[in-house]
Symmetry: C2
Subunit: 389 residues, 2 copies
């Protein structure tokens, strides 16, 4: 069993951001799993997506249910094997899980940042991650890996620090957001910003949290993480059972003779119950300003824009690539991964691509599909063998 | 030019609703175009979707920009030709465009209905429409026609009143909502219901409108009406231009040297600007309780549930059908129309089906695609010729 230990590192030097703003006296939370080898050649950096953190694998001592968010993928004997690799999880700047973010005090003002936390980009996160690696004495990564927004960071690593990355594993990702992707982000942000409890992003001072907005944001998110198919299979048009108070009684439904309650506000269908539950849970722990920052980082990421076009961008990359997409992912559809593959091939780069026939939509990148796990396992097996006789 | 004249009809008799509740002393707003022939055999009823009304075609006298919502489809010489047909548009119960709805006074209490307006279903609307036809002296419709939710009503007409409908034209519709469809409705409803200005649906008494919720609801709706492709074509990742005050100056963008503003709350992309505009506009005129009622009518509609399965349901129908779907419509995808076609063929019914290759998503049913218009035109041409020597 892998026991995880969260660590934190403080950075005094100013970090220049893409926007022109700067951050100073910030800290990054991180975890490591496995052992760094003598020549420091076996480090793998894991980049996280919207609702995740540095706690990638293992559990915390004495907390059984505290598995890291990619614990099925990473650990001893797992596809990314911590018996072979030294794996680093890091929480991004602006997040709400430990690294410096909107809930922390701005050293320039002595006040909590709130909405004044500067906009951070994928590129800024990669720069901060590179400084963490400097501090850990790691010059070159065996691999950088991430799914979704994490995949964008992995991709950006190969452009910003091409000589520090030997492999990039980019899962369920895209070279930029489509208009529809931005649209969903924008609706979620408007729900948060227009919640009267948001107070222009300085809600901490008012002792409230814009939970209404966070709930809506999360509900919208969940719809885009799942496929239409898996929603139909899991929930379909099934009505919610009302469980009676007396145990042993068969669950029954209240309501009319035909089973409908005929209400616009009560939960009628199971899918409604599921979404409300997900929204409620999220609003209890996620920071509203972090939500805005992370969705904006997604919106802004666009190496094609930075470097002229995607092929031109990827001419910078020298890493070898594994790309994985999932057939029913309509948030970051396979064609988006294929754009990256094409741009790599345009530059005659070494790229493997697996399009996994999985029903779970975007969420598939976090789930246990045996073909998916198999592809990642063989890729890392061959990475582990590199340079050996 | 077709001049439209809104009319209203009062109904004193109690209307029993599917929920078990009743409505009494209600009125229906409607318009008619063209002339009812002597044997009253040329009437076509148009059923509307979420954000529409009885004002289907023509303009109001002296109001140039007041075209009905299906004015491209219906009028003299148009695909549904009012020189041949007597076309009726009717506003549904619970709507906010004239027929009795949540903004009106409940005769039982003397108070505005608000959230106490009873839940109405597609079947209830069809029953109310049938009473309107009774009052107009029309026994049998040459055709009933609708798009989206309107198509569900057209479909339901053929099940509830099989001997009163000769043809049903069902465009961009579905035999019921999927879990994903319900999910989008539910998020929109939660945005409205949790807006502090909703006041449990009795906001009229407080002199406020839950505009925040309505805006979010409409933004979500708009995303589902458009295809990913048309959004990319129309907006893509284009940034919003800031137009300078001095005319003649070239539009410019404020913000950083690279063109981004680096803001989480300002409009950065054109798609954001478009959605905010649509949300703002909608919140100015649409009623929040109506939004809840209409989305719930969508959720509940399910003839397969009512009659066992869809084939069994459509065994009741004796009308001839035209079904039309659009390839990029992901809200009511072509496969949903094909389910209806299959169930009709199971019963050896007369059905024509056109799957139109159009880029505009669900919205296509309101737009001028020449193939779509052509299909509807030829269908109605042959309806007009029926019974003639």
């Amino acid at each position: 069993m892998l026991i995880a230990t969260p660590q934190s590192m403080q950075f005094a030097a100013v970090l220049p951001l893409q926007s022109g703003a700067t951050l100073r006296d910030y800290s990054l939370s991180f975890e490591t799993y496995g052992t760094l080898n003598a020549d420091k050649s076996n480090a793998v950096l894991i980049c996280h997506a919207l609702n995740a953190s540095h706690h990638v694998a293992g559990t915390y001592a004495g907390q059984d249910k505290s598995e890291g968010w990619w614990d099925n993928m990473i650990g001893p004997g797992k596809p990314l094997d911590t018996n072979k690799f030294f794996v680093i999880g890091v929480n991004n700047l602006g997040s709400c899980f430990g690294s410096t973010g909107p809930m922390h005090v701005n050293p320039d003002t002595g006040r909590v940042y709130g909405a004044d936390f500067p906009v951070v980009t994928v590129e800024d996160w990669v720069n901060a991650q590179a400084r963490l690696l400097d501090a850990l004495g790691i010059q070159t990564l065996a691999a950088v890996m991430g799914g979704s927004l994490g995949g964008m960071q992995a991709l950006s690593w190969t452009l910003q620090y091409p000589d520090r990355v030997r492999h990039a594993v980019v899962v369920a990702s895209a070279p930029n957001l489509t208009a529809e992707n931005i649209a969903f982000n924008e609706v979620a942000r408007r729900a948060i910003v227009t919640d009267p409890d948001f107070h222009g992003g300085h809600f901490y001072e008012h002792g409230v949290v814009p939970k209404r907005g966070l709930r809506i944001a999360r509900m919208i998110g969940h719809i885009t993480y799942l496929s239409d198919d898996v929603m139909n299979e899991k929930f379909g048009r099934k009505l919610r059972q009302t469980v009676l108070a007396q145990s042993g009684d068969k669950p029954q439904r209240e309501g009319g003779v035909d089973g409908y309650k005929y209400s616009t506000q009560d939960v009628e269908f199971q899918i409604e119950s599921y979404l409300r539950y997900q929204g409620d849970k999220f609003a209890e722990y996620f920071d509203a300003n972090t939500y805005l920052l992370i969705t904006r980082a997604l919106d802004y990421f666009d190496p094609a824009r930075t470097y002229g076009d995607l092929s031109h961008a990827l001419a910078r990359a020298t890493a070898k690539f594994l790309l994985v997409s999932f057939t029913t992912d309509w948030r970051f559809a396979p064609k988006r991964s294929r754009e990256i593959v094409k741009a790599l091939l345009d530059n005659r780069r070494d790229v493997s691509y697996a399009e996994i026939d999985a029903p779970h939509g975007h969420d598939a990148f976090l789930l246990d599909d045996p073909r998916y796990m198999g592809v990642v396992r063989s890729y890392f097996d061959s990475v582990a063998k590199e340079g050996r006789p």
